[in-house]
């Protein structure tokens, strides 16, 4: 399974990458903002994206809206903070399949990924 991590923080990407590797996912692509991600999705063709909300250049919500214009099925998990939690509905309307609130534990992230993939494949 190919997973794309979209986050402007390298530390966060590393944490997510480590969790994913522990879960056995090794095909991972990284993008530092929404625009960078859009330029890579065609080549990488992800099966799942973890999208941070706050990013420079293009934020997570704009990325989701743009991405969903062409791709309706690839599952997207929004990574938010407590402050953005109130806007989760907006994100779901835009097309995200699930969300995880920072700070999260590796267990919680892996739970969200498993849950999302199960929902999509059901």
């Amino acid at each position: 399974m190919r997973i794309m991590l979209i986050d402007d923080s390298k530390t966060m990407r590393n944490i997510q990458k480590s969790v994913l590797k522990q879960l056995g996912y090794t095909e991972i692509e990284e993008a530092c903002d929404g625009q960078d991600a859009l330029s890579k999705v065609a080549a990488f063709n992800p099966d799942l994206c973890l999208v941070d909300w706050n990013m420079p250049v293009m934020d997570g919500l704009t990325f989701v809206k743009t991405f969903r214009q062409k791709d309706k099925s690839t599952p997207l998990i929004m990574v938010t903070t407590e402050a953005e939690k109130s806007r989760v509905i907006e994100a779901i309307k835009a097309g995200v399949n699930n969300y995880v609130v920072k700070p999260f534990t590796p267990d919680l992230l892996s739970e969200r990924i498993t849950e999302t993939l199960a929902k999509v494949s059901a």
Binding site: S9, T11, M12, N14, I15, S18, N54, T81, E82, A83, K102, P103, F104, T105, P106
Partner: protein
């Protein structure tokens, strides 16, 4: 006819054993006027001599001699057969490389073999050249491996049959494979190649060419032989001189003295007389080391080190036991994975000696490394936990940067905890192996002197006064050193000074400290091997 008959009485044909020549004798009473070449030829024909064997010229000359010298016996070889040409033995030709080595070795053996004594007529430049040559690396032996091509052998020559003077065939003798090639160790292939069947030392002269699986050095290993690298056992009839080296995969046996030299064997090393290493001599064995005595040398034995008389000022490491049952140990340091048995330990002059039993360097060293890494990781984890706590207590939960920082710290702490778990698992595997293979025990038959320090894994024991044996010093189930005399055990501290010493307390990691005074029993013994994971984790 009677006259011919009469003449026959004066003629005699003699042949050699092989019937290849016939000699005709004409007696002194023979009627010389009747002797003609024709008459003689008729006589020889009557004896069965083949026509083609007759030497007509010789007959003619003999007849003339008989006529000229009446009253004297004359003779000549008058018939000649053809001797056989026997098959030739097959000839062995070494490869160019082996020939070159033979030439080198023979040239060296004809020179003065001590490079420190250059020939008196050598120029200063020649002397300098001689000094530049590595005389230690010049081996006097040709070492080959099984399957190596040694040379070629000439094709067989069947020879040619001969013919005797009566026309009979004299068969040529067939030559078998050369008897001077040892077929056990040298293979002659159908295409006339000569290969070594086994690894060893090429014996290229003498009555038998062979590849000897054991290298026999009749005298010393020194300038005459050079260093020895041999894929099998080595027997040295003499000793091993200063700075020379023997490296063998088989047993190494030295009859006389090993000086400040180096011996390494994958199996046993036996030095019948002794080792006088002058602080640089080294012996390494994959299995046992046995010696008459050892002085100022370093010994590293894969199993036991057994010395008959004494060990003086040596560094000895044995994965098994060190046994000098009736002998003495003075000075130096000894480490044994299992028991140490000695007659007298130390000296009246209180020469410092250090004895460590129950330690296997290959296990203790990684364990020590793990302990250091474990301590570092623990410190790091505590630091990070403190930082995380401080950050959380003052954190604005709506600040994404602060959230990310706490997550990063959490992540690092989790990574370090995983690493610590792995280190602990690796350490435990090594401990299990140490318990299986190590056994801390010192037996003294006659006496121990002050100046000797006996290190166990968790403590050091030293005697302030002489103490007579026989006794055994060991750790009891609680890890306390005890002295066993004739089956009666008592705490060692009753007769010696027992000090906690964690220098070698590799077993006592941060999570399993174990002191001399601890009331906790030692961890239960287990079996099992330390896997590579342990080493990797370390």
């Amino acid at each position: 006819m009677p006259r011919e008959h009469d003449l026959d009485a004066h003629l005699q044909l003699r042949t050699d054993d092989d019937l290849v020549t016939g000699t005709l004798f004409i007696g002194p009473e023979a009627p010389s006027s009747e002797i003609t070449p024709h008459v003689l030829a008729v006589f020889l024909d009557s004896k069965g001599i083949a026509e083609r064997a007759l030497d007509r010229a010789a007959l003619k000359k003999l007849a003339a001699d008989a006529q000229a010298t009446s009253g004297v016996e004359v003779s000549a070889i008058v018939a000649r057969g053809r001797p056989p040409r026997h098959g030739q033995p097959r000839k062995l030709e070494w490869t160019a490389q082996i020939n070159e080595r033979i030439d080198e070795i023979e040239a060296r053996s004809s020179e003065d073999t001590d490079p420190h004594q250059p020939s008196s007529d050598a120029s200063p430049e020649e002397c300098a050249d001689q000094q530049a040559v590595d005389h230690y690396g010049h081996s006097a032996f040709i070492i080959v491996n099984g399957g190596d091509e040694l040379g070629t052998i000439s094709p067989p020559d069947p020879g040619e049959d001969g013919e005797d003077i009566f026309g009979g065939v004299i068969p040529a003798k067939q030559s078998p494979n050369p008897s001077y090639i040892d077929s056990e160790s040298i293979d002659l292939t159908e295409d006339n190649r000569v290969n070594a069947r086994n690894s060893g030392h090429l014996v290229y002269s003498g009555s038998l060419r062979s590849v000897a699986a054991t290298l026999e050095v009749p005298g010393d290993v020194g300038f005459a032989t050079g260093n020895i690298d041999f894929p099998g056992p080595v027997n040295v009839g003499g000793g091993v001189k200063d700075l020379f080296r023997i490296d063998a995969t088989g047993d190494v046996t030295v009859r006389r003295l090993v000086e400040a030299a180096s011996i390494s064997s994958d199996r046993d090393v036996i030095v019948e007389r002794g080792v006088a290493g002058r602080d640089t001599g080294q012996i390494r064995s994959g299995r046992d080391v046995r010696a008459g005595y050892v002085e100022s040398a370093t010994i590293n034995a894969g199993r036991d080190c057994i010395v008959q008389r004494e060990i003086t000022n040596c560094q000895i490491v044995a994965r098994g036991s060190i046994l000098i049952e009736s002998g003495a140990v003075r000075g130096g340091a000894m480490t044994a994975g299992k028991r140490i048995e000695v007659g007298v330990l130390g000296s009246a002059q209180e020469v410092p000696s250090e004895i460590l039993t129950g330690s296997i360097p290959e296990l203790d060293q990684p364990l020590a490394r793990i302990r250091v890494l474990r301590e570092r990781a623990d410190t790091k984890r505590s630091d990070l936990a403190f930082k995380l706590e401080s950050l959380r207590s003052a954190m604005d939960t709506s600040n994404p940067d602060a959230i990310e920082k706490t997550m990063a710290l959490d992540f690092d702490i989790s990574e370090i905890s995983t690493r610590i778990t792995r280190l602990d698992e690796a350490a435990e595997r090594i401990r299990v192996n140490l318990r299986k293979h190590a056994d801390a025990q010192l037996s003294v038959q006659k006496r121990i002197h002050p100046g000797v320090r006996i290190l166990f894994r968790n403590c050091a024991v030293r005697f302030e006064e002489e103490f007579d044996g026989p006794f055994t010093l060991k750790l009891d189930r609680e890890g306390e050193p005890v002295i066993d005399q004739h089956g009666n055990e008592r705490p060692a501290r009753e007769v010696a000074v027992v000090e906690p010493d964690d220098t070698l307390d590799y077993l006592g990691g941060p999570d399993s400290t174990h002191s001399v005074h601890s009331e906790q029993p030692r961890e239960s013994l287990g079996n099992g091997l330390v896997s590579d994971e342990g080493q990797q984790a370390a």
